[in-house]
Amino acid sequence: MNEAPVPSVLAMLVCENIIIEAVTNKKTLVGVFNQIQNSQFPAPFGPFWIYARLADAEGDYVLRLELVHLETNKKILSASGMDVHVPNRLGPHELSLNIQRIFFELPGTYEVLLYANDVWIGRTTVSVVKKEQG
């Protein structure tokens, strides 16, 4: 069996909502952001979405998503087992991941990492900032 090619990530974005049109499957990303402010930590946050558009994918993949606090190198979330089949590498493949609620333990930069068959293929970042009260 041929090894599936390593996909390229054309775009990876974090946003407040994704509207998926029922008939056409077209997606509208609403409220794209890269910073969260909170006055208390751990900071609850959600719901939010992670969108990724892949190219050059063909075959079977197991996708994994990790959310990592960059300053401490610690994972706070790992989602595995998203196995997908992409029939044709000429067409893009879209991922729309909805996270209902998580807790950011510390301020800092959080990396969202995407892996395909254990190969790291893409990342985006979200800054979590402590908002001073007053």
């Binding site: 990530v9 056409t24 499957n25 979330l77 790992s78 909805n98 998580i102």
Partner: protein
């Protein structure tokens, strides 16, 4: 002047996943592929450190494509992170893990493009390096 009405366009549904927090310590995840029903997927909330190793598969130069994940070790020396591909003896440096991997990406891109362009004039050592790089990288068709 006449109005142009675009016909409706259709795109594949792709993969959709949802993560639902059931209790303070547990999240539940679902994935939906195209038009199939949602299935539960494993999801962990962890405090583990990232491993000191990654199969590297992201390159910024649009001319290039990764064929296989490149095995890269990541270590920290003082304030500097070092991403290293021991077999090719190539390194990237940065103030954090991902700055080091970005630097590594630029280094191997530049090396591959240069060696490929100068292939006819390379000595045996660099031919060996280019042969190794070609197992992992290629120009897009």
């Amino acid at each position: 002047m006449s109005d142009t009405i675009l016909p409706p366009t259709i795109t594949p549904a792709g993969t959709q996943a949802s993560f639902i927090k059931e209790s303070p310590d547990s999240l539940k995840g679902f994935v939906q592929r195209d038009t199939q029903s949602p299935e539960s997927i494993p999801l962990t909330v962890s405090n583990d450190e990232l491993p000191p190793f990654v199969y590297f598969g992201t390159i910024h130069d649009p001319r290039l494509q990764i064929i296989h994940g490149i095995p890269v070790d990541i270590r920290r020396e003082g304030d500097t992170y070092i991403a290293s591909w021991e077999e090719a003896e190539e390194f990237g440096y940065g103030t954090d893990r991902f700055a080091a991997l970005d630097d590594f990406s630029r280094t191997i891109t530049q090396l591959f493009v240069t060696l490929d362009r100068e292939e006819d004039t390379l000595g045996p050592g660099l031919v060996e390096t280019l042969t190794l790089l070609r197992q992992y990288l290629q120009f897009r068709e």
